[in-house]
């Protein structure tokens, strides 16, 4: 196992000039030894590029990769001692489950009794012990993918295990069980795991820390809680949570804050950051009053949806839609009603140039 350190950038074409020319903008990052990480972002955000640079399938166009302070920038995936699991099962149909699981160990000439022992442990964790002597050919797609996962985890001495959307082929009803397995295995084996996905549930559930990426940039590295409560970038606020965070432009002048020309109340517990130009507030935390109160902002309700577990209210503040999540028990407004928003409290985030201040 290793601590992985990156200080690099990558462009697929020579002489990158503008930000758009980079698949991965200059970044510095450290993956802790034994940590579970997820790289999360929409397609084209650079997450797979980063994974391929870590594994050694791709060499960064500038900068370095270190594994435990050893510069491995030029080293092949084999040299880096990396295990990988891909979207689709890669297994040998003619071999048994046990032979498939033990293959990486056999390749490295590990003694037979040790292979049997380790394969037994991994099969136990994946609940495949009863299938060890079966031919892989007869298994379902998700069983085969379980073998791929097991083979990725079988070598105790790898620097890291990299996963590229490994649960794509898994039936939705079985996904949570495999997520649980992966989490359990991480607790037991303490391997460094890096997991690429565009699915927020997968990332937030699996990882200790999530790297959120957009347009070649890692905009935040944080726990699920940090990404939800304190998004470091407006993209994170938008991307995490359904619906995402609401954003409104503000003007701050000393102790006074106004939104669309309305003065809004600032609770004593909140200190106004001087240069903020935007506030972000989650639909879950936005409080509304049915009648006007000092320091609130009025908004016209355009849509009220009963989403079953909560009521989703959409209102308009000067062309900007603002969404509010109300509990089913609360009093619900009607489309056309005017509501009054309490915009600033301890949950409100302030932004300048899309970054949290």
């Amino acid at each position: 196992m290793a601590e992985i350190r990156l200080d690099l950038a990558h462009a697929y074409h020579p002489n990158p000039q503008r930000d758009e020319d980079y698949a991965l903008l200059p970044l510095k990052m450290t993956f802790r030894d034994g940590g579970a990480y997820a790289l999360l972002g929409p397609s084209g955000c650079g997450k797979t590029t980063m994974l391929n640079i870590i594994s050694g399938l791709l060499q960064p166009s500038q900068g370095h990769v270190w594994f435990d302070n050893e510069d491995v920038t030029q080293a092949s995936p084999q040299k880096r001692n990396i295990a990988q699991v891909f979207q689709f099962p890669v297994i040998y149909d003619t071999m048994t489950v046990a032979e498939n699981l033990g293959f990486p160990l056999k390749n490295r000439k590990v003694p037979k009794d040790q292979i049997t022992k380790r394969v037994g442990e991994i099969a136990e964790m994946l609940e495949m012990s009863h299938q060890l002597d079966m031919r892989a050919a007869g298994l379902s797609a998700d069983q085969k993918q379980k073998i791929s996962l097991g083979r990725g985890l079988v070598r105790p001495d790898v620097s890291a295990v990299l996963f590229d959307e490994p649960l794509t082929v898994i039936d939705p009803h079985l996904k949570w069980q495999l997520r649980r397995k992966l989490k359990q295995i991480h607790h037991e084996l303490k391997l460094t795991l890096i997991y690429v996905t565009h699915d927020q549930v997968e990332a937030l559930t699996f990882a200790d820390e999530v790297v959120v990426m957009t347009r070649g940039k890692a905009v935040q590295v944080g726990t699920a809680e940090a990404l939800f409560e304190r998004p470091a970038h407006t993209f994170v606020g938008h991307f995490i949570g359904s619906p995402g965070m609401n954003f409104l432009p503000i003007q701050i002048n000393g102790e006074i804050c106004s939104v669309h020309g309305h003065l809004v109340t600032i609770p004593d517990s909140v200190k106004l950051p001087e240069h903020a130009t935007k506030i972000g507030i989650r639909p879950e935390y936005l409080r509304v009053s049915p009648t006007e109160q000092p320091g609130t902002l009025n908004a016209g309700v355009t849509q009220v949806q009963d989403v079953g577990t909560y009521i989703l209210v959409t209102c308009q503040v000067d062309q900007t839609p603002v969404r509010i999540r109300l509990s089913p028990q609360s009093q619900r407004p009607e489309p056309g009603d005017e509501v009054y928003l309490h915009l600033i409290d301890s949950h409100t985030c302030f932004y300048q140039d899309e970054e949290l201040v």
């Binding site: 929409p42 397609s43 084209g44 949570w176 997520r179 649980r180 989490k183 359990q184 607790h187 565009h198 699915d199 927020q200 549930v201 937030l204 559930t205 726990t223 699920a224 809680e225 990404l227 939800f228 409560e229 938008h238 991307f239 995490i240 949570g241 359904s242 619906p243 995402g244 989650r282 639909p283 879950e284 849509q303 949806q305 009963d306 989403v307 079953g308 577990t309 009521i311 989703l312 999540r325 089913p328 028990q329 609360s330 619900r332």
Partner: protein, 358 residues
């Protein structure tokens, strides 16, 4: 436009795909066909479109029998899971094609207005292959909307897109449907999508139509345990229970006060939706002790899988909760939030709906 299916069924080489059903779609509104894969959604939609002929029964459009009238003789717009566009035409020409066919006026203006609404106006001169999947599906949607057909059929149109894109497009589509006057049929496997689209929902399961009604009503008042299962994500927790003098007794001996109708049988099935369980403690509520199997975090919600002595259960908690694997916790259940079903399915008791006096 009024679409009515009368005793429609479909069998393929003796295999029943759709059992006889009657359905009168709410005119000029959205109807969601909700069901798992193989429930019969696509089969039903193809019959509505005239792509397939029902084995039995009739299809009426505004009172006229159109059973067997082929799709090209009917004015219908369709959108499929896969993005289908004319590969050699620009985005503009793709959207304009139904307008040209119908010899519409102001084609340029109409195409631009639709493209703007679906945020693809910057790609009008490009070919579909030069766009991302989400953008290509927007082109297909814009073309379907351009046709302005009285009946629009959408078969899981967002299933192949990233969830954030899905969220944005779904909101745009429901606004467009509300603004237009087409009768829209929208198939999905996701209960959450049905609720966000609103309108009416028809719940299908294994080829049978189980229930049809306003979406929120079907969700809050599922006619049977089968509907409740099809219309719950995460899955509804089901617990077998026995009737007592004051309510019900659970298999672990715990009792809960619930007012049951007089005809309620001895054996009952309780349905507990994931959001009825939380971690707060209240004296009147039932406490269910358990151990965490996994906490799945979506950001806005945490779905906690818990092993309890009532079996495995799922609780939906608002916000981010970091609960370690194997941690002990106590789920809290308000008896007023419990559904009660007869053992073979029909609903006996449902919780009060929001805005309703209990």
């Amino acid at each position: 436009m009024e679409l009515t299916l009368s005793n429609v069924s479909k069998a393929v080489s003796g295999q029943p795909y759709l059992y006889p059903l009657n359905l009168q779609l709410e005119p000029n509104q959205v109807t969601v066909l909700l069901g798992a894969t193989q429930a019969g959604k696509t089969t039903l939609m193809r019959i509505m479109a005239g792509l397939d002929r029902p084995s039995e029964g009739q299809v009426f459009v505004d009172g006229t029998d159109v059973t067997g009238t082929p799709v090209r003789e009917r004015n219908i717009a369709m959108v499929y899971q896969q993005f289908i566009n004319y590969p050699s035409m620009t985005v503009f020409d793709n959207i304009a094609s139904p307008l040209k066919l119908s010899k519409a006026k102001n084609i340029e203006e109409k195409v631009r207005a639709l493209a703007e609404k679906l945020r693809i106006d910057m790609f009008l001169n490009r070919l579909p292959a030069e766009l991302s999947g989400g953008q290509q599906q927007r082109v297909a949607l814009a073309r379907a909307l351009a046709k302005n057909a009285p009946l629009m059929l959408l078969d899981e149109p967002l299933v192949n897109l990233d969830y954030k894109l899905r969220e944005d497009l779904r909101a745009e589509l429901s606004a467009l449907f509300a603004a237009g006057d087409s009768t829209v049929v929208y198939a999905t496997t996701e209960p959450g999508e049905a609720l966000l689209l609103g309108g009416h929902t028809a719940v299908l399961d294994k080829g049978s139509l189980l229930q049809y009604g306003p979406t929120a009503t079907v969700f809050h008042r599922p006619a049977s345990v089968q509907v409740a299962k099809a219309f719950s994500d995460p899955p509804i927790n089901l617990v077998q229970a026995h009737r007592t003098e004051t309510g019900v007794r659970l298999p672990n001996g715990q009792e809960m006060p619930i007012t049951l109708p007089v005809q309620a049988p001895e054996a009952l099935t309780l349905g507990i939706r994931a959001n009825a369980l939380d971690l707060s403690e209240s004296a009147n509520n039932l406490q269910i002790a358990g151990r965490v199997d996994l906490a799945e975090i979506s950001g806005s919600d945490t779905f906690v899988h818990v092993q309890t002595d009532l079996g495995p259960m799922v609780a939906q908690l608002t916000g981010v909760h970091n609960l370690a694997l194997g941690a002990n916790l106590c789920l809290n259940l308000n008896p007023e939030h419990v559904y009660v079903f007869e053992p073979d399915g029909p609903l006996l008791v449902a919780p009060a709906m929001s805005g309703e006096v209990a």
